[in-house]
Assembly symmetry: C2
Homo-oligomer: 332 residues x 2
């Protein structure tokens, strides 16, 4: 099957919102008056971002999900995306499943494929996604990394550490019961981008980022861009680990035997979480709770922003913890 | 060097037109009121689109050029692009040269890098480019493949076949003098996107496409989308071969010894030409000439569009030629 047949069979659908979709030299998008276009781009490479045997349906989902997560972090409404795909061979069963996973998520977010490219080559998936952000009274409503202020509360959505738990188990570095592994793998392979929460936080959050490299690493980007510091209550972050086995008692009962240090590592530098880490002034705490409820997304306050530069970690008793979570591999 | 240092060192520059560039979850573009955004995406893979030893400066140029060529074919003014890059290793000399070639062309077209991604992996370059097309009285000014009508003239810009000549010589399938090879390689490795011509043809051309797969193949897309046929004067196309050795006399003098069939193959199915193939009603012939002059781009009429479906090829005497230029490798 040639490139054009492949595109026609698996990746061409009637456009709904775009002026022109797949099939010409360019696609055409007409942004609504008074809006800005938010644009993000992620490239996924086999062996680096996913295993060769990853279910293609989950891969189609994840390739778009990580891009939608960037739109969510900006509070942008998804509009459209382009897909460039390098394929080592034309495997129709693989392509059909990949397209199915991709379009199921695209449809759920009303985000349409408008163009792209296919070529032979080592498996590589590059998606560029387009979203819409309103401009109100000349001010962009986009959530940026640069808007956090000292005194703001720091929040995280959903759950942390599960994707990393799955990765460590799949690499044989720890043993977890099958049911826990299945749930954690689902988080790793089919993350749910927090688009609804991002939209609900417009005008409420002062800064936001999606957690792809781990809580501590991504928080660092907010600190750098906003020129503030932060204090994180580590055990509040640990409490976000989905399997709810973060305290000693349930941890034992769950069949997962990790040190306190390892639980903290999962939460603080898990990676691949695709949750929203965001800040908001204390005066907005009720609005944050309402946004969480409206978007049906759990949100937890895990710290606050400081005028003093740098990151401070506290345990449940308010004692300072050393921050070695960026440089230390506790599973090595 | 990590991903963030690499982006900071080689791929971060102050934005001029975008609201927000590299460094947040999304870039922000604010299209001018009354415009549409034209979007195109091309992925270049080592071994497929370029040789491993390709000069990285030329590669940076070409990766953007093939995308700008798509904007040109739509008559879109370049605005911005994203760059996703999978690199087998971090080679600073390579990156510096790649960035130099990329930004030299970007600056020449006032097209700025606003975001992207970098990752480890087999060398892969994926650029998504954004341009602007005005909407006048509710009608998009974009040049599309679908607008050709029976009776329209068919034109090609610039030169054809040189990139293919270089490829065949580099593969050892034919021998050409060094000076000719150098000029042809330049065309293969540093194509000049016909952006100025595309802009000048808005409101004049009825359909357009850029020639990347070869004249015959790309003309086929116009025929299919416009539901018309075409007659091509083959020797007018051959006359576009840049080295001006298309007639028997100068061909001999040039030191290139090809059969008439091979010359025709170069012109008709060369590939990698990145010229504009376009149609316009005969009433616009003076306007086409003026657009060519204004954009300092040679343009040649090579045929016309017919109501009868299909493609007909004629020689200089008006005799029909068999069309075996899509399936035949005359250099094999």
């Amino acid at each position: 099957m040639g490139e054009f047949d492949l595109i026609a069979r698996y990746f061409t659908r009637p456009v709904r919102q775009a002026v022109l979709g797949v099939g010409d030299d360019c696609a055409l998008l007409q942004p609504a008056p008074g809006t800005q276009m938010a644009i993000s781009c992620d490239m996924l490479v086999q062996g680096r971002h996913f295993f060769a045997d990853t279910d293609p349906r989950q891969l189609g989902h994840k390739a778009l999900a990580v891009n939608l997560s960037d739109l969510a972090a900006c509070g942008a409404r998804p509009l459209a995306f382009t897909l460039a795909l390098a394929l080592p061979d034309v495997n129709e069963a693989w392509l059909a499943a990949f397209a199915q996973g991709l379009f199921a998520l695209a449809d759920a977010h009303d985000c349409e494929l408008i163009g792209g490219d296919t070529t032979a080559g080592p498996l590589n998936i590059c998606i560029t996604v387009f979203g819409e952000v309103p401009v109100v009274n000349g001010k962009s409503q986009a959530l940026l990394r640069s808007g956090a202020r000292a005194g703001d509360d720091l929040y995280i959505s959903g759950t942390l550490g599960d994707a990393r738990l799955a990765l460590e188990a799949m690499h044989g570095k720890l043993t977890v019961p099958n049911a826990v592994l299945a749930a954690a793998r689902e988080r790793l392979q089919s993350p749910a981008p927090r688009v609804a929460l991002g939209l609900a936080l417009r005008g409420i959050a002062s800064a936001a980022i999606d957690v792809s490299d781990g809580l501590i690493g991504d928080l660092g980007h907010i600190l750098e861009r906003s020129r503030v510091g932060a204090t994180v209550q580590v055990d509040q972050a640990v409490a976000c680990i989905a399997c709810h086995v973060h305290d000693a008692q349930t941890a034992g009962a769950s069949g997962i035997h990790l040190s306190q240090e390892q639980w903290r590592t999962l939460a603080l530098c898990g990676g691949d979480d695709y949750e929203l880490l965001f800040t908001a002034p204390p005066s907005q705490s009720a609005a944050v709770a309402a946004a969480a409820q409206a978007s049906q997304t759990p949100v937890r306050r895990i710290g606050k922003m400081d005028a003093t530069a740098g990151l401070r970690l506290l345990d449940a008793q308010g004692q300072a913890l050393p921050n070695h979570y960026t440089s230390f591999d506790h599973f090595a």
